[in-house]
C-alpha cells in the first residue's frame, strides 16, 4: 500500500493505493485521522485499492466517527469494485457517503 494526500475543492483527499491489509492499514488510518485532526473535511479516494480487509474498513469507520464527533464532512470517492464488495459484506455500503469523484461532494459549507 501507498498513499498521498492532496487538497481538492476544500477537502483533504487521501488517496490509498494497493492492498490495505492488517500490515498496512495502520498507515492508512494515521493518514485519514491526521487530516481530520487537523480540522479538514476529508475524502478517501479508493480507486487504486485492489484489496482491503476488515482492518482497512475499520480505519474508514474510525474516520467517519471522528468526522461526526468533530462535525466535519467525510466521504469515500471512486470506490473500487474490490472495496465495494467488502463494504457490502460488512453492510457498510449505505453508511458511507460515496461519490464517483471528489466533485460529487458539494464542497464544505
Amino acid at each position: 500500500m501507498k498513499y498521498d494526500v492532496a487538497m481538492e475543492n476544500g477537502y483533504a483527499v487521501v488517496r490509498l493505493q494497493g492492498e490495505v491489509d492488517l500490515h498496512r492499514s495502520p498507515e492508512a488510518r494515521k493518514a485519514i485521522l491526521g487530516c481530520l485532526q487537523q480540522g479538514h473535511h476529508t475524502l478517501v479516494d479508493l480507486s487504486g485499492v485492489q484489496y482491503i480487509d476488515s482492518s482497512g474498513v475499520a480505519s474508514l469507520v474510525e474516520g467517519l466517527q471522528l468526522a461526526r464527533d468533530q462535525q466535519l464532512q467525510f466521504g469515500l470517492v471512486a470506490v473500487s469494485e474490490a472495496t465495494l464488495n467488502v463494504l457490502k459484506l460488512a453492510r457498510l455500503d449505505t453508511v458511507f457517503a460515496i461519490q464517483p469523484d471528489a466533485s460529487g461532494f458539494p464542497g464544505p459549507a
Binding site: 491489509d21 492488517l22 500490515h23 484489496y51 480487509d53 476488515s54 474510525e62 464488495n85 467488502v86 460488512a90
Partner: protein
C-alpha cells in the same frame, strides 16, 4: 482420503498475509474458481488468519499458522491450524452490525462468504483447527 491441493505454513505475522493471499488465490484458481469467488474466498481466509494473529493467545501468539486446502465433494475446504491456547468458541461472535464501530467485522465477513465455519478438535489435542467450507459450482480439477 483426499490429498490436499496444498499444505503450507506462514508465521503469525501481518506482513505475511500478502503472500498467504497470493497462495490461496493461485490454488483455488487452479481448482476452478472464477475471479469473483476467488476474491471472496481469499478475503475470508485472510480474515481467519488475521483473527489468529490478533486474538490467539490474547494477541501474543507467535507460532506458525498452517493452512491446508482441499477440493472434495464439490466443495473447497480450508483448514487453519494454530498452536495457541484453545479458543472459547462462545466468545467468537459477530457483533450487531447496526452498532457502528470499527472492528468486529471479521467473523461476520467469514460467515457471509463461507457455507460452513467450524472449530474442529485439533489432531493432537493442541491448538485450534478451524474449518471453512464453500460449495462450488464449477468443475474442480483434482
Amino acid at each position: 482420503m483426499t490429498e490436499p491441493l496444498i499444505r503450507f505454513e506462514i508465521p503469525s505475522r501481518a506482513d505475511r498475509l500478502c503472500l498467504l493471499r497470493r497462495v490461496v488465490r493461485e490454488t483455488i484458481r487452479l481448482a476452478g474458481c472464477d475471479d469473483a469467488l476467488a476474491d471472496d474466498l481469499v478475503l475470508a481466509v485472510n480474515e481467519a488468519c488475521m483473527n489468529i494473529m490478533q486474538h490467539a493467545d490474547t494477541g501474543t501468539y507467535q507460532g506458525p499458522i498452517e493452512i491446508e486446502i482441499l477440493a472434495r465433494d464439490g466443495m473447497l475446504e480450508f483448514l487453519l491450524r494454530d498452536y495457541a491456547r484453545p479458543v472459547d468458541v462462545t466468545s467468537i461472535r459477530s457483533r450487531d452490525l447496526d452498532d457502528l464501530r470499527p472492528g468486529g467485522l471479521g467473523v461476520h465477513i467469514i460467515g457471509e462468504i463461507m457455507d460452513e465455519v467450524n472449530f474442529l478438535p485439533p489432531p493432537e489435542g493442541r491448538g485450534n483447527l478451524l474449518r471453512l467450507r464453500k460449495h462450488i459450482v464449477t468443475g474442480v480439477q483434482r
